[in-house]
């Protein structure tokens, strides 16, 4: 039961048990691996590719959030190659939609913005896509701005796995992917939505926000979502 695994992260032995992912092991040992789509308490999906790590003996990079810790594993969390790939992933996220930080409710509290700063992204090397995207204001309390969505799917999982309502899904493929509520019904008309706001708290950017806040005013409490799972004993 309490079998321990021998796992090294950046050369150091860290406590690990079967069933834990590399990211969980690293975070428990205070080793920093950046991640955007991962949220404690939700199923890991490996969507954002920021937590890519090098594992000794494996020729390709692996996402730390979906890679189970294994006995004898040696993981490298930072290298020039990883840093360069993470920067590319971040820049592509900025280029894909319209992330205008200057007018965003979440500026200063945004995980994407903070990750860009941590990684020294001072500009985006790729041409911006400038898609024309909708803002769904139909819900009485919340707003969804597709311009700021990074398709991390944290809202989808928070709603389906914790609230049990499963209002959200990702529709379409590739660059046409969009977050949809109740099979493309406007959020305000979604009958399964309980208006609990877990999706809003789980959202890492300003894509989902409470109405009534101005620029830089929307702070989020994602730890509430994580704590709910912990209180249920991980169920």
């Amino acid at each position: 039961m309490t079998q321990k695994l021998k796992v090294r992260i950046d050369g150091e032995f860290v406590p690990a048990s079967p069933g834990q992912s590399v990211l969980q092991v690293a975070r428990a040992a205070n080793k920093y691996i950046p991640a955007l789509c991962y949220m404690e308490g939700l199923t890991a999906v490996g969507a954002c590719r920021l937590c890519m790590v090098e594992v000794q003996g494996v020729s390709r990079l692996l996402p730390a959030c979906t890679t189970p810790a294994q006995d004898g594993m040696a993981v490298t969390t930072t290298s020039p190659q990883l840093q360069s790939y993470r920067k590319i992933a971040l820049e592509l996220l900025f280029a894909e939609r319209n992330h205008v930080c200057a007018v965003c409710v979440s500026s200063g509290h945004c995980e994407l913005q903070a990750l860009a700063q941590d990684h020294g992204v001072t500009y985006v090397r790729y041409p911006y896509n400038y898609p024309r995207l909708a803002v769904d204001t139909s819900h009485p309390r919340y707003v969804l701005d597709h311009n700021r969505c990074v398709l991390c799917s944290r809202c989808v999982r928070a709603c389906a796995e914790i609230e049990g309502a499963h209002v959200w899904d990702i529709s379409g493929r590739g660059i046409q992917s969009r977050l949809v509520s109740e099979l493309k019904r406007p959020w305000g008309e979604a009958r399964t939505c309980t208006s609990c706001g877990k999706c809003v708290q789980a959202c890492p950017t300003g894509a989902m926000a409470e109405k009534g806040w101005g620029v830089e005013e929307m702070t989020k409490h994602g730890q509430v979502v994580s704590r709910l799972t912990a209180m249920r004993g991980g169920r």
Binding site: C101, A102, Y123, V124, Y130, L133
Partner: protein, 176 residues
Amino acid sequence: MGKVRLGTCWLDGCSGCHMSLLDVDEGIVAILNKADIVFGPLVDAQEWPEGVDVAVIEGAVSSQDDLKLAQQARARSKVVVALGDCAVTSNVPSMRNGIPARKLLERVYVEGADAKPGIPADGVPPLMKKAVPLHEVVKVDVHVPGCPPKPNAILLALSELLEGRKPDLGSKLRFG
């Protein structure tokens, strides 16, 4: 050693980055001890002069005039600095990019006009299809993000450049 020749201009921006530049307080004295401002909103020169050492450019590139000035500044300057989010990311000016320029002008100047509807053509430069960041039209050497960038970040960037070094802004600045 002669003084560094410094030029500044704003394209499609709100002048906020220039305000932030002025907001360096007494730091401006240190800058002026080392540099001559040879072009800028408060300088009388009509055209970007030859032989500029450091060009500081605010704003996105939105119109044919912006493009011309950006290209001229690039050709006549050794180092080009993109100052602020509009120059770095195209920021707020790019929010029109999903709408064709013609449609946009009609909406504002024809449908939205109370008197004398009509798209202005006299004395105003034609809009480009999209407002783009400075580095999409000319080579940019230093990016200083922020809306506006903090005065001390501008001061740090300029102090380094006036000493002939490339500033390492790394993780000191964020978008927005």
